[in-house]
């Protein structure tokens, strides 16, 4: 066994190149907490501009095929890029792009050549930011029950309906969505995926006021929205994976969303929590030296380590093209439940200071307060923790349906 990616001289030189480039190109203050809405928009624009720079080098989506403007890089180079970007507190992409990540993977597996040529390069270059639209008021865990309708009309589909708990702040260029293309058709045989323009007539985005958004893949979307579709006309070309074949295509999307890809990054909340506890004194000594706090920190640390190892294992399974079973939803379930459990553990370890964003009495930039909210909310997006367990059971071979293999990308 070898838990470490070892680097050749060529790879080490690639790391030096990446590091030097990032040092020259990461905009200063890019990870700041925005002071107001205008600053938030400005920061988003900076992130997008930085994303396009990464895209031009093939570093925004390093693993994606070069034929579609991805980086075409191998796993080791991807790890180098992710590690180096992580040093700046950023991820790839550096902004919320869930539809780009999951939609592009699905298109790689299920799209036609023309669709790949049309949809993938703008994502991989960073020219577009894409939201994914799955959940509806009447279809959460029961994704197959979506009722937003996309009805064929000549060379177009006409979309009517409502999506909820989706997207982020500052809008999107593209939308990756699932809709019902055969209302009244058999369940699981009436759905289709679309990659559409986000700014078409008839699309209305209405921000929601929520206690948190859950944080997704190192890029907190900050805000969620309701999106209304009122007779939105889209070209038939935007339907990906075959009409009424959407449930099958969803397996690719959901497998990745459920953590099969794995990740290798550090646990950001843990790193900051430890530093906070080392620097914060109570009764004349650092929190880390209080026996009870120290015990709680040990428990927290171990869970973050197990989560890291599950992510590392999944990453390896993916890139070594090993057969997978329950590991994707297991990572997702573990991450979600650890986050929820940590809200209590951190509150106990740190006390009420974890609850305030006050600059004097709270944690730096309120990162602990954010975890208190996000740890609860993160249990739900991308398939609730309960859905992950259903998924695990099926893969283990004790659930309703025997093992199912998902189409996937490596």
């Amino acid at each position: 066994m070898d838990f470490e990616v070892t680097y050749t001289e060529a790879q080490q030189s690639f790391r030096r190149e990446v590091r030097a480039w990032l040092e020259a190109n990461v905009p200063p203050g890019i990870t700041r907490t925005p002071v107001d809405d205008a600053d938030s928009l400005k920061r988003y624009q900076e992130l997008r501009a930085f994303g396009r720079k990464l895209g031009a080098k093939g570093w925004l989506y390093p693993r994606a095929p070069k034929a579609y403007a991805g980086g075409g890089l191998d796993v080791d180079s991807t790890i180098i890029l992710e590690e180096e970007v992580d040093r700046f507190g950023l991820a790839l992409p550096p902004y919320y792009d869930s539809g780009g990540k999951l939609g592009s993977a699905t298109i790689q597996v299920w799209g036609t050549e023309e669709q790949k040529q049309a949809f993938l390069p703008p994502i991989y270059r960073g020219d577009v930011r894409t939201w994914q639209l799955l959940t509806e008021p009447g279809a959460g865990s029961d994704l197959a029950g979506v009722t937003t309708a996309a009805i064929r009309d000549g060379d177009e589909y006409v979309i009517n309906g409502q999506k909820i708990f989706v997207g982020s702040d500052h809008g999107a260029d593209r939308i990756w969505m699932i809709a019902c293309t055969n209302p009244g058709g058999a369940r699981h045989e009436n759905l289709s995926w679309f990659m559409i323009d986000a700014n078409l007539p008839g699309i209305t985005v209405q921000p929601m006021e929520l206690m948190g958004t859950g944080g997704e893949g190192g890029t907190d979307p900050v805000q969620k929205n309701t999106v209304f579709f009122d007779s939105v006309r889209v070209p038939a070309f935007t339907l990906v994976g075959g009409e009424n074949n959407g449930w099958k295509a969803a397996s690719t999307h959901l497998e990745l969303e459920h953590g099969a890809g794995g990740r290798i990054g550090r646990h950001r909340v843990w790193d900051r929590l430890l530093r906070y506890c080392q620097e914060t004194k109570r009764d004349g000594m650092p929190l880390t030296q209080h026996p009870d706090t120290r015990d709680l920190l040990a428990d927290i640390y171990i869970k973050t380590e197990v989560q890291r190892l599950f992510g590392l294992r999944n990453f390896w399974l993916t890139y070594a093209k090993r057969p997978r079973s329950y590991e994707g939803p297991q990572l997702s379930y573990y991450r979600k439940m650890t986050g929820l459990w940590m809200t209590g553990a951190i509150l106990e370890a740190v006390g009420p200071a974890a609850l305030t964003t006050d600059a004097t009495w709270g944690s730096p930039e309120g990162f602990l307060e954010l975890q208190q909210r996000n740890g609860i909310i993160a249990v739900h997006p991308g398939g609730t923790a309960d859905v992950q367990r259903v998924s695990m059971s099926r893969r283990i071979g004790i659930g309703r349906v025997a093992r199912e293999a998902a189409g996937t990308v490596h």
Partner: protein, 374 residues
């Protein structure tokens, strides 16, 4: 990065699995549960033929000098039984303690016989206070001329009833870590080992009643070096013990999946019930947490990396995981799981036995925090 076993490790795993299935099937293991000694002569002889007691002993002392990961592959298979016997006590912790603490002459005198399975070691550390750590070692030998005289008790000693020799932690000074290791002939007059009765697996009481031990039995020949040597031995031995527990977790997981698929209630296999699924998921999460913390600790040790924190974490996670995995398995199995002949109980008992063995989870978590220098 490659998290797969090597080809030769896969071969070792396959041969160990075949061996365990053939030599120690469930009904045999269940029948062994009531034996006074964990050592089954026929099984032990065959294991010696396979070279297992010498797996970690250097070639110069007659072993095969395998890596810890190799040993872990073997112990995971033994843990699936769980196969009893002084495999760990003698071949891993005992042998490593001799390697770490013994003089060159002592290693030469002892280790080849350990590798041949003729000498069987057990390591006696815990005193009747049942507290853990160097400060808790209170058994104090009296120095009489060129001999030590031992009077006292060691408790929860694994495999003492199987041992030919005991490595005894003894207090030889007043500093907290002033501990020495003495090699004591388990058949010497005044030594009595007795398996403790109850819900535990081959943990013994050892009484020393005026036992005369020659000064040459002091490992390393110098006083107060014992705990540091023991810690070095434990740092390498613990992840191998963890692998034994990982094997146990894997076995109870497989039992539970199979039972969920086969047991029918309300007209359907019980695995269809989400409550039952929850138990299986809890179990597999503990199994995988144990498996990967252990694997990473082994890899760090085998590649010479700093591993102290990883070893303590693995022991804490694995001890808790094995216990919880058995709890979950009992929930899946209900009455079936409590039948001695079914085989789950042997694991449950082993999981309890190893929970606090060589330091409980809380102790290891604290040492982990210390090692991380928070």
């Amino acid at each position: 990065m490659d998290l797969a076993l090597t080809e030769s490790q896969e071969m070792l795993r396959a041969s160990a699995r075949t061996f365990v299935e053939r030599e120690a099937p469930t009904h045999t293991l269940v029948a062994l549960q009531k034996q006074e000694s964990s050592l089954v002569p026929d099984l032990w002889r065959k294991a010696v033929d396979a070279g297992w007691p010498g797996i970690l002993i250097s070639t110069e002392y007659g072993g095969s000098e395998s890596t810890l990961t190799d040993a872990a592959v073997l112990f995971e298979e033994l843990g699936r039984g769980p196969v009893p016997g002084p495999f760990f006590s003698s071949g891993v912790l005992g042998a490593l303690a001799i390697l770490e603490a013994g003089s060159e002459a002592q290693r030469k005198a002892i280790l080849p016989a350990v590798a041949r399975g003729e000498t069987v070691l057990a390591v006696a550390i815990m005193d009747p206070s049942t507290s853990w750590g160097p400060q808790a070692v209170t058994l104090r030998p009296q120095r009489v001329g060129d001999r030590y005289r031992l009077d006292g008790i060691k408790l929860f000693v694994s495999d003492a009833t199987a041992a030919t020799h005991l490595i005894v932690a003894a207090r030889t000074g007043d500093g907290p870590a002033d501990v020495s290791l003495l090699l004591v002939d388990a058949r010497a007059p005044g030594v009595r080992a007795r398996r403790l009765p109850g819900f535990l697996s081959w943990q013994d009481e050892v009484r020393f009643d005026g036992v005369e031990v020659p000064a040459a039995a002091l490992l390393g020949g110098r006083d107060n070096q014992g705990w540091a040597a023991l810690e070095r031995a434990l740092a390498r031995a613990l992840p191998v013990l963890c692998s034994y527990m990982v094997g146990g977790c894997q076995a109870v997981y497989e039992m539970s999946v199979k039972h969920s698929q086969q047991r029918v209630q309300f007209g359907v296999p019980i695995g269809r019930f989400q409550r039952v699924q929850d138990h299986v998921i809890r179990l597999v999460n503990h199994l995988d947490a144990a498996r990967w913390t252990t694997a990473e600790a082994l890899w760090k040790l085998d590649t010479g990396r700093a591993a102290t924190d990883a070893v303590h974490m693995a022991k804490a996670v694995t001890s808790e995981g094995y216990l919880e995995a058995c709890n979950a398995a009992h929930e899946v199995h209900a009455g079936q799981g409590s039948l001695m002949e079914y085989g789950l109980v042997a694991h449950t008992q082993m999981s309890r036995t190893l929970f606090a063995h060589l330091g409980d989870p809380r102790w290891h978590k604290r040492r982990m925090a210390d090692a991380l220098a928070w």
